[in-house]
Protein backbone atom coordinates (compact mmCIF):
# COMPACT_ATOMS: atom_id res chain seq x y z
CA UNK A 1 0.00 0.00 0.00
CA UNK A 2 1.40 3.39 -0.96
CA UNK A 3 2.13 6.01 1.64
CA UNK A 4 -0.67 8.31 0.46
CA UNK A 5 -3.23 5.51 0.59
CA UNK A 6 -2.27 4.93 4.20
CA UNK A 7 -2.56 8.66 4.84
CA UNK A 8 -6.04 8.81 3.30
CA UNK A 9 -7.24 5.82 5.31
CA UNK A 10 -5.75 7.30 8.49
CA UNK A 11 -7.45 10.62 7.75
CA UNK A 12 -10.83 8.89 7.31
CA UNK A 13 -10.45 6.93 10.55
CA UNK A 14 -9.19 10.03 12.36
CA UNK A 15 -12.12 12.10 11.12
CA UNK A 16 -14.66 9.51 12.27
CA UNK A 17 -12.95 9.22 15.67
CA UNK A 18 -12.88 13.01 16.00
CA UNK A 19 -16.60 13.27 15.27
CA UNK A 20 -17.38 10.47 17.72
CA UNK A 21 -15.22 11.92 20.48
CA UNK A 22 -16.56 15.43 19.97
CA UNK A 23 -20.15 14.23 20.09
CA UNK A 24 -19.76 11.81 22.99
CA UNK A 25 -17.33 13.65 25.24
CA UNK A 26 -18.06 17.30 24.61
CA UNK A 27 -21.28 19.14 25.32
CA UNK A 28 -21.73 22.65 23.94
CA UNK A 29 -24.95 23.14 25.88
CA UNK A 30 -23.76 24.63 29.18
CA UNK A 31 -21.01 26.63 27.45
CA UNK A 32 -23.49 28.03 24.96
CA UNK A 33 -25.90 28.98 27.72
CA UNK A 34 -23.18 30.70 29.70
CA UNK A 35 -21.14 32.38 26.97
CA UNK A 36 -23.57 33.35 24.26
CA UNK A 37 -22.74 36.95 25.24
CA UNK A 38 -24.60 39.63 23.34
CA UNK A 39 -26.86 37.01 21.75
CA UNK A 40 -28.28 36.37 25.21
CA UNK A 41 -30.58 39.36 24.79
CA UNK A 42 -32.74 37.27 22.43
CA UNK A 43 -33.84 33.63 22.57
CA UNK A 44 -31.60 32.64 19.64
CA UNK A 45 -31.88 29.00 18.66
CA UNK A 46 -34.02 28.31 21.69
CA UNK A 47 -35.09 24.69 21.41
CA UNK A 48 -33.35 23.93 18.12
CA UNK A 49 -32.11 20.66 19.50
CA UNK A 50 -28.76 19.22 20.51
CA UNK A 51 -27.12 19.60 17.11
CA UNK A 52 -27.12 23.38 17.41
CA UNK A 53 -27.26 24.26 21.05
CA UNK A 54 -25.69 21.24 22.65
CA UNK A 55 -27.50 19.58 25.49
CA UNK A 56 -29.23 16.22 25.39
CA UNK A 57 -27.45 12.91 25.91
CA UNK A 58 -24.34 11.73 24.08
CA UNK A 59 -26.42 9.62 21.70
CA UNK A 60 -28.65 12.61 20.94
CA UNK A 61 -25.60 14.64 20.11
CA UNK A 62 -24.23 11.83 17.95
CA UNK A 63 -27.53 11.68 16.08
CA UNK A 64 -27.37 15.43 15.54
CA UNK A 65 -23.83 15.16 14.18
CA UNK A 66 -24.85 12.38 11.81
CA UNK A 67 -27.79 14.43 10.58
CA UNK A 68 -25.49 17.42 10.03
CA UNK A 69 -22.95 15.36 8.12
CA UNK A 70 -25.52 13.69 5.86
CA UNK A 71 -27.28 17.00 5.22
CA UNK A 72 -24.03 18.71 4.25
CA UNK A 73 -23.11 15.87 1.90
CA UNK A 74 -26.54 15.86 0.26
CA UNK A 75 -26.50 19.62 -0.21
CA UNK A 76 -23.10 19.18 -1.85
CA UNK A 77 -24.50 16.48 -4.14
CA UNK A 78 -27.35 18.77 -5.18
CA UNK A 79 -24.94 21.59 -5.99
CA UNK A 80 -22.62 19.21 -7.89
CA UNK A 81 -25.49 18.04 -10.08
CA UNK A 82 -26.94 21.53 -10.48
CA UNK A 83 -23.79 23.22 -11.78
CA UNK A 84 -20.96 20.75 -12.42
CA UNK A 85 -18.93 22.96 -14.77
CA UNK A 86 -19.14 25.97 -12.51
CA UNK A 87 -18.15 23.84 -9.54
CA UNK A 88 -15.21 22.38 -11.41
CA UNK A 89 -13.90 25.84 -12.33
CA UNK A 90 -14.45 27.03 -8.78
CA UNK A 91 -12.65 24.02 -7.33
CA UNK A 92 -9.73 24.57 -9.72
CA UNK A 93 -9.50 28.15 -8.50
CA UNK A 94 -9.15 26.77 -4.99
CA UNK A 95 -6.33 24.41 -5.96
CA UNK A 96 -3.59 27.02 -5.94
CA UNK A 97 -2.15 26.26 -2.53
CA UNK A 98 -2.18 27.90 0.88
CA UNK A 99 -1.36 31.44 -0.25
CA UNK A 100 -4.32 31.55 -2.60
CA UNK A 101 -6.65 30.07 0.01
CA UNK A 102 -5.51 32.77 2.42
CA UNK A 103 -6.25 35.42 -0.20
CA UNK A 104 -9.76 34.03 -0.65
CA UNK A 105 -10.27 34.01 3.13
CA UNK A 106 -9.30 37.68 3.32
CA UNK A 107 -11.56 38.47 0.34
CA UNK A 108 -14.43 36.67 2.09
CA UNK A 109 -13.80 38.53 5.34
CA UNK A 110 -13.67 41.93 3.62
CA UNK A 111 -16.83 41.18 1.68
CA UNK A 112 -18.61 40.02 4.84
CA UNK A 113 -17.70 43.31 6.56
CA UNK A 114 -18.76 45.33 3.53
CA UNK A 115 -22.04 43.46 3.08
CA UNK A 116 -22.90 43.72 6.79
CA UNK A 117 -22.18 47.44 6.76
CA UNK A 118 -24.09 48.09 3.55
CA UNK A 119 -26.99 45.97 4.80
CA UNK A 120 -27.21 47.91 8.05
CA UNK A 121 -26.96 51.24 6.28
CA UNK A 122 -29.71 50.30 3.85
CA UNK A 123 -32.39 50.00 6.53
CA UNK A 124 -32.75 53.78 6.63
CA UNK A 125 -34.67 53.92 3.37
CA UNK A 126 -37.90 52.13 2.57
CA UNK A 127 -36.84 51.21 -0.96
CA UNK A 128 -33.55 49.64 0.19
CA UNK A 129 -35.08 48.00 3.24
CA UNK A 130 -35.03 44.39 1.90
CA UNK A 131 -31.33 44.65 1.03
CA UNK A 132 -29.97 43.17 4.30
CA UNK A 133 -31.95 39.97 3.66
CA UNK A 134 -31.09 39.80 -0.04
CA UNK A 135 -27.39 40.50 0.53
CA UNK A 136 -27.27 38.05 3.43
CA UNK A 137 -28.95 35.33 1.39
CA UNK A 138 -26.61 35.95 -1.54
CA UNK A 139 -23.54 35.80 0.65
CA UNK A 140 -24.80 32.63 2.32
CA UNK A 141 -25.44 30.90 -1.02
CA UNK A 142 -22.04 31.95 -2.37
CA UNK A 143 -20.36 30.64 0.77
CA UNK A 144 -22.29 27.38 0.56
CA UNK A 145 -21.26 26.80 -3.06
CA UNK A 146 -17.69 27.76 -2.24
CA UNK A 147 -17.53 25.35 0.69
CA UNK A 148 -18.83 22.52 -1.50
CA UNK A 149 -16.13 23.32 -4.08
CA UNK A 150 -13.52 23.43 -1.34
CA UNK A 151 -14.52 20.06 0.10
CA UNK A 152 -14.69 18.56 -3.39
CA UNK A 153 -11.19 19.82 -4.25
CA UNK A 154 -9.85 18.48 -0.95
CA UNK A 155 -11.31 15.05 -1.70
CA UNK A 156 -10.03 15.04 -5.29
CA UNK A 157 -6.55 16.06 -4.16
CA UNK A 158 -6.32 13.26 -1.61
CA UNK A 159 -7.76 10.58 -3.91
CA UNK A 160 -5.42 11.54 -6.75
CA UNK A 161 -2.36 11.49 -4.50
CA UNK A 162 -3.39 8.10 -3.19
CA UNK A 163 -3.53 6.82 -6.74
CA UNK A 164 -7.25 6.17 -6.63
CA UNK A 165 -9.42 7.31 -9.44
CA UNK A 166 -10.45 10.93 -9.44
CA UNK A 167 -13.33 10.03 -11.77
CA UNK A 168 -15.76 9.57 -8.89
CA UNK A 169 -16.96 13.05 -7.97
CA UNK A 170 -19.31 11.84 -5.25
CA UNK A 171 -16.54 9.88 -3.53
CA UNK A 172 -14.32 12.97 -3.65
CA UNK A 173 -17.11 15.10 -2.23
CA UNK A 174 -17.85 12.55 0.51
CA UNK A 175 -14.20 12.40 1.56
CA UNK A 176 -13.80 16.17 1.59
CA UNK A 177 -17.07 16.69 3.44
CA UNK A 178 -16.09 14.14 6.09
CA UNK A 179 -12.72 15.81 6.70
CA UNK A 180 -14.00 19.38 6.81
CA UNK A 181 -16.96 18.39 8.96
CA UNK A 182 -14.70 16.58 11.43
CA UNK A 183 -12.39 19.59 11.66
CA UNK A 184 -15.30 21.87 12.46
CA UNK A 185 -16.31 19.56 15.31
CA UNK A 186 -13.13 20.14 17.30
CA UNK A 187 -14.19 21.85 20.53
CA UNK A 188 -13.59 25.63 20.42
CA UNK A 189 -11.14 25.47 17.49
CA UNK A 190 -13.90 24.08 15.28
CA UNK A 191 -15.81 27.36 15.35
CA UNK A 192 -12.74 29.19 14.05
CA UNK A 193 -12.22 26.56 11.35
CA UNK A 194 -15.88 26.76 10.35
CA UNK A 195 -15.70 30.54 10.02
CA UNK A 196 -12.46 30.30 8.03
CA UNK A 197 -13.88 27.64 5.70
CA UNK A 198 -17.06 29.62 5.05
CA UNK A 199 -15.18 32.87 4.48
CA UNK A 200 -12.78 31.09 2.11
CA UNK A 201 -15.69 29.52 0.24
CA UNK A 202 -17.50 32.84 -0.02
CA UNK A 203 -14.36 34.63 -1.15
CA UNK A 204 -13.57 32.05 -3.81
CA UNK A 205 -17.15 31.85 -5.07
CA UNK A 206 -17.53 35.61 -5.36
CA UNK A 207 -14.03 36.15 -6.80
CA UNK A 208 -14.70 33.59 -9.54
CA UNK A 209 -18.30 34.79 -10.07
CA UNK A 210 -19.58 31.41 -8.88
CA UNK A 211 -17.14 29.63 -11.18
CA UNK A 212 -18.49 31.28 -14.31
CA UNK A 213 -15.00 31.85 -15.70
CA UNK A 214 -15.87 35.47 -16.41
CA UNK A 215 -13.74 38.17 -14.79
CA UNK A 216 -15.08 41.01 -12.67
CA UNK A 217 -14.63 43.86 -15.08
CA UNK A 218 -16.16 47.11 -16.26
CA UNK A 219 -14.70 46.69 -19.74
CA UNK A 220 -18.07 45.77 -21.32
CA UNK A 221 -19.29 49.23 -20.32
CA UNK A 222 -16.55 50.94 -22.29
CA UNK A 223 -17.59 51.64 -25.83
CA UNK A 224 -15.27 51.01 -28.74
CA UNK A 225 -13.72 54.24 -30.02
CA UNK A 226 -15.40 55.31 -33.20
CA UNK A 227 -12.98 55.29 -36.12
Amino acid sequence: MSRWRAVVLAVIVGAVVLILLSALAFDWGPIWQEWRGPLAVRPIFGGWGPAVTGGGGPLDRLGGELANLVAQFLVGVLILFAAPRHLRRLSLALAGGGARLLRYTVVGLLLAIAIAAVGLLSIFSVHTFPLPFILGAGFFLAALIGVVALTYRLGVGLLVRAGWSDQQPLASLALGTLIVFALTRVPFLGVVILAAVWLTGAGAAIASRLGSGEPWSLLPLLEEPQS
Binding site: P38, R42, G46, R103, A114, A117, L120, I123, A207, W216
Partner: protein, 144 residues
Protein backbone atom coordinates in the same frame (compact mmCIF):
# COMPACT_ATOMS: atom_id res chain seq x y z
CA UNK B 1 -6.97 46.24 -42.68
CA UNK B 2 -5.69 49.59 -41.47
CA UNK B 3 -6.51 50.41 -37.89
CA UNK B 4 -6.37 53.65 -35.94
CA UNK B 5 -2.65 53.28 -35.19
CA UNK B 6 -1.83 53.09 -38.90
CA UNK B 7 -3.86 56.23 -39.46
CA UNK B 8 -2.00 58.05 -36.69
CA UNK B 9 1.37 56.94 -38.09
CA UNK B 10 0.61 58.60 -41.40
CA UNK B 11 0.26 61.93 -39.57
CA UNK B 12 3.72 61.74 -37.97
CA UNK B 13 6.09 64.51 -39.12
CA UNK B 14 8.86 63.30 -41.46
CA UNK B 15 11.65 64.97 -39.51
CA UNK B 16 14.57 63.28 -37.71
CA UNK B 17 14.09 62.28 -34.09
CA UNK B 18 15.72 64.58 -31.52
CA UNK B 19 18.76 63.04 -29.77
CA UNK B 20 17.21 63.20 -26.33
CA UNK B 21 13.85 61.74 -27.39
CA UNK B 22 14.46 58.35 -25.83
CA UNK B 23 15.66 59.89 -22.56
CA UNK B 24 12.66 62.24 -22.44
CA UNK B 25 10.25 59.39 -23.06
CA UNK B 26 11.88 57.30 -20.35
CA UNK B 27 11.88 60.14 -17.83
CA UNK B 28 8.26 60.94 -18.66
CA UNK B 29 7.31 57.31 -18.20
CA UNK B 30 9.18 57.14 -14.90
CA UNK B 31 7.43 60.30 -13.67
CA UNK B 32 4.04 58.93 -14.68
CA UNK B 33 4.69 55.65 -12.92
CA UNK B 34 5.99 57.47 -9.84
CA UNK B 35 2.88 59.62 -9.71
CA UNK B 36 0.64 56.58 -10.12
CA UNK B 37 2.53 54.82 -7.32
CA UNK B 38 2.18 57.81 -5.00
CA UNK B 39 -1.52 58.09 -5.78
CA UNK B 40 -1.98 54.40 -5.09
CA UNK B 41 -0.10 54.63 -1.81
CA UNK B 42 -2.06 57.72 -0.83
CA UNK B 43 -5.32 55.91 -1.58
CA UNK B 44 -4.22 52.87 0.38
CA UNK B 45 -3.20 54.94 3.42
CA UNK B 46 -6.42 56.96 3.29
CA UNK B 47 -8.54 53.82 3.17
CA UNK B 48 -6.50 52.16 5.91
CA UNK B 49 -6.98 55.27 8.04
CA UNK B 50 -10.71 55.24 7.33
CA UNK B 51 -10.93 51.55 8.27
CA UNK B 52 -8.98 52.15 11.51
CA UNK B 53 -11.18 55.12 12.41
CA UNK B 54 -14.30 53.11 11.59
CA UNK B 55 -13.14 50.23 13.79
CA UNK B 56 -12.31 52.64 16.60
CA UNK B 57 -15.78 54.17 16.37
CA UNK B 58 -17.51 50.80 16.05
CA UNK B 59 -15.98 48.92 18.99
CA UNK B 60 -17.70 50.89 21.78
CA UNK B 61 -21.01 50.64 19.92
CA UNK B 62 -21.02 46.90 19.31
CA UNK B 63 -23.65 46.47 22.01
CA UNK B 64 -26.13 48.46 19.93
CA UNK B 65 -25.61 46.08 17.03
CA UNK B 66 -26.63 43.14 19.21
CA UNK B 67 -30.18 44.45 18.96
CA UNK B 68 -29.89 43.92 15.20
CA UNK B 69 -30.03 40.17 15.76
CA UNK B 70 -33.64 39.15 15.35
CA UNK B 71 -35.05 36.68 17.83
CA UNK B 72 -36.04 33.21 16.71
CA UNK B 73 -37.44 30.33 18.67
CA UNK B 74 -38.93 27.01 17.68
CA UNK B 75 -42.17 27.74 19.50
CA UNK B 76 -42.47 31.13 17.78
CA UNK B 77 -41.82 29.65 14.34
CA UNK B 78 -44.22 26.79 15.08
CA UNK B 79 -47.05 29.07 16.11
CA UNK B 80 -46.44 31.28 13.08
CA UNK B 81 -46.59 28.24 10.78
CA UNK B 82 -49.90 27.21 12.35
CA UNK B 83 -51.09 30.76 11.72
CA UNK B 84 -49.99 30.46 8.07
CA UNK B 85 -52.06 27.31 7.68
CA UNK B 86 -55.07 28.92 9.31
CA UNK B 87 -54.87 32.36 7.70
CA UNK B 88 -52.01 32.93 5.24
CA UNK B 89 -52.80 36.58 4.54
CA UNK B 90 -52.87 37.52 8.21
CA UNK B 91 -49.67 35.59 8.90
CA UNK B 92 -47.92 37.25 5.96
CA UNK B 93 -49.07 40.67 7.09
CA UNK B 94 -47.91 40.01 10.63
CA UNK B 95 -44.50 38.85 9.41
CA UNK B 96 -44.11 41.95 7.25
CA UNK B 97 -45.13 44.15 10.13
CA UNK B 98 -42.66 42.39 12.43
CA UNK B 99 -39.85 42.81 9.92
CA UNK B 100 -40.67 46.48 9.44
CA UNK B 101 -40.80 47.12 13.17
CA UNK B 102 -37.46 45.32 13.58
CA UNK B 103 -35.92 47.50 10.88
CA UNK B 104 -37.38 50.75 12.16
CA UNK B 105 -36.31 49.89 15.71
CA UNK B 106 -32.82 49.21 14.49
CA UNK B 107 -32.75 52.43 12.47
CA UNK B 108 -33.83 54.40 15.54
CA UNK B 109 -31.05 53.06 17.72
CA UNK B 110 -28.36 53.69 15.09
CA UNK B 111 -26.51 56.79 16.25
CA UNK B 112 -24.48 59.05 14.00
CA UNK B 113 -21.22 57.56 15.25
CA UNK B 114 -22.33 54.07 14.34
CA UNK B 115 -23.49 55.10 10.87
CA UNK B 116 -20.18 56.89 10.29
CA UNK B 117 -18.28 53.82 11.48
CA UNK B 118 -20.18 51.58 9.07
CA UNK B 119 -19.55 53.92 6.15
CA UNK B 120 -15.87 54.20 7.04
CA UNK B 121 -15.55 50.42 7.18
CA UNK B 122 -17.64 49.53 4.13
CA UNK B 123 -15.66 51.55 1.59
CA UNK B 124 -12.17 50.21 2.46
CA UNK B 125 -13.50 46.66 2.76
CA UNK B 126 -15.09 46.79 -0.69
CA UNK B 127 -12.01 48.43 -2.20
CA UNK B 128 -9.68 45.90 -0.60
CA UNK B 129 -11.81 42.97 -1.75
CA UNK B 130 -11.98 44.37 -5.29
CA UNK B 131 -8.19 44.83 -5.40
CA UNK B 132 -7.55 41.32 -4.14
CA UNK B 133 -10.03 39.80 -6.59
CA UNK B 134 -8.42 41.73 -9.46
CA UNK B 135 -4.92 40.64 -8.50
CA UNK B 136 -6.02 37.02 -8.09
CA UNK B 137 -7.63 37.12 -11.54
CA UNK B 138 -4.47 38.61 -13.02
CA UNK B 139 -2.36 35.83 -11.51
CA UNK B 140 -4.71 33.24 -12.97
CA UNK B 141 -4.33 34.86 -16.38
CA UNK B 142 -7.88 36.18 -16.49
CA UNK B 143 -7.63 39.70 -17.81
CA UNK B 144 -10.56 41.96 -17.08
Amino acid sequence: MADRMDELLTHLPAEPCPDDLVGRIQSRLAATRRRARWMEQGRMWSLAGAAALGTWLLIPRLGILSTAVPGFSVSGVGSWLSWVLASPADAGGALLSQVLSWGSGLAECMQFGLVLALVLMAAPALYGAARMIASTSAREGVVG
